[in-house]
Amino acid sequence: MTARLVAGKVLGALGTLAFVVVFNFFLFRVVESNPVATLYRGRNLTDAQREELTRQFGLDGSKLEQFWRYMEQTLQLNFGRSYATNQPVIDEIWAATPQTLALVGTSTVLAMAIGLAMGVVAGWRRGTAHDRVLTGISIVTWSTPEFWLGMLLLTVFAVDLGLFPTGGISDPSGPDGGLGELLDQAHHMALPCLTLTIAYLGEYALIMRSSIIDVAREDYLTLARAKGLRDAQVRDRHALRNALLPSTTLIALSFGFVLSGAITVETVFSWPGLGLLTYESLRGPDLPMLQGLFLLFSAAVIVFNLAAELLYPYLDPRVRAR
């Protein structure tokens, strides 16, 4: 890929990001109600106090002034203060990010491994009982609302059987620091992680299955068979490698969705990550917090999308040639 093409794609991604930032401003400012009135409802404020608060929330001046100030602050990663806690939005977001990365990252990797394997088997043995069962499982798990699955697993494994904690990230009376704390957190993460893994694997399986079916007609597979390779060798060395190519885009994209992927499941298990933060900011609604979260979620997807586009030509020489 030429430097020009790379620059073009990077510029395109930056353009998309800029569009999100501008969209974000209009979405929240144009429709927004007056937070000062909402937050201090029923309290007697002097005009001076009211002005002071309006200024604190960055809502004074004309829309155009607000817009420039907003752009300036956003470029400095300053998203204002949360209406709910009065803490800087960015601090709260950073504090919640590691938990989400741990939970959704683990589930995505697990779901990917299991789902892709399921897809390969189903696609390779298309039309057999294997295929029907695996595809059936994939479609059913895809059709299930993930938070409902979480509720079921929570009832069975945490409430009925008492094998796992019902929510949160650690036991307040549990071990502090070191390996013990880590194990305690893993114990808390097991159920939400299982929920997300089951919820995600269907999509990977279906996409992998269709990729395998697409490459199954290719001549190079006939050649590989004619060379006398065993079926498993043809599948793993030839079909799988080629079928993985279209999946890379999906895989890169799904890493982009890691941050925003678990809003409902984190809510069910009160897992203190970005999803629970989103849920809590909806109560207010805590607009600066939502604004910051939305920007972060979008930025993550845009960055990984760009990564997928840049990576693809290196993985598939056929694209590079064009």
Partner: protein, 272 residues
């Protein structure tokens, strides 16, 4: 197909199957229904924490879930088809701009965008439909656009143009009818996504507070602590209904797609 028929019939015949008054806590109080009653105590499905019978909620919930699913799909499909046909047919700057817009909507994470829109617009049935509709069209637009690009080059379109037909005439008479089957198959696959989105939004408390939907039943049961009470009769049925409806729409959609395009048969993958 059969399952779908049952659910549509239930939604249409809701007043015959269930008593709408039972959706209100006041009626439940007046009729002295027990709270947290299991199906064994009060048939057929027991009651919730306010004594409202689950059965009536489930039947009326099907109305909202199906309505939102179908109405949002209509919006998404109309936007997607218009953007796809116009972009693909007109080409040039219009196409470039529309393609950019489509790509942008594709890249924006769907649920956060829907959440933000719903939070800003406020919870009501119309807003939920609108929010899901305007966030679900890009996949359709892209699909239709690529189809239009290939139809545009066909001989009969060429002939029509040679005979002096206007762009609008060709779009209406030739392009639109030939993408219609694709549009319908795509619509069938958009409905389940819309229903799942409604369920998720309602679970997050962004649904219409005056209506019962399957998602809002799940939200009610979750926030009332039905999990700890082991009131399975409350949260199990709505979830199963969602799965049944989503599953049947998906299967019908995949079958339709397979009929329209044999090359696609069995190879369709559903996107999140």
């Amino acid at each position: 197909m059969l399952v779908l028929g049952v659910f549509v019939a239930a939604a249409l015949a809701a007043p015959l199957l269930a008593d709408e008054a039972n959706l209100r806590a006041i009626t439940a109080d007046a009729r002295d229904y027990p709270r947290w009653a299991s199906p064994a105590e009060l048939g057929p499905l027991g009651t919730d924490s306010l004594g409202r019978p689950i059965w009536d909620q489930l039947v009326y919930g099907s109305q909202v879930s199906l309505l939102v699913g179908i109405a949002a799909t209509v919006i998404a499909i109309v936007i997607g088809t218009v953007v796809g046909v116009v972009g693909g047919f007109v080409g040039g700057w219009t196409d470039a701009a529309l393609a950019r817009l489509t790509e942008w909507f594709l890249v924006i994470p769907f649920l956060p965008l829907a959440i933000v829109l719903a939070a800003v617009l406020g919870p009501s049935l119309e807003n939920i439909v609108l929010v899901i509709g305007i966030t679900s069209w890009p996949v359709t637009a892209r699909l239709i656009r690529s189809q239009v690009l290939s139809i545009k080059e066909r001989l009969y379109v060429e002939r029509s143009r040679a005979l002096g037909a206007s762009g609008a005439h060709i779009m209406g008479r030739h392009v639109l009818p030939s993408v219609m089957p694709l549009v319908i198959a795509n619509a069938t696959l958009t409905v389940p996504v819309a229903i799942l989105s409604e369920t998720a939004l309602a679970f997050l408390g962004l649904g219409d507070p005056t209506r019962v939907s399957w998602g809002s039943m799940l939200e009610d049961s979750f926030s009332a602590g039905a999990l700890g009470q082991e009131a399975w009769w409350w949260y199990l049925p709505p979830g199963l209904c969602v799965i049944a409806v989503v599953l049947s729409f998906t299967l019908v959609g995949r079958a339709l797609e397979g009929i329209l395009d044999p090359r696609l048969r069995d190879s369709h993958a559903v996107g999140r």
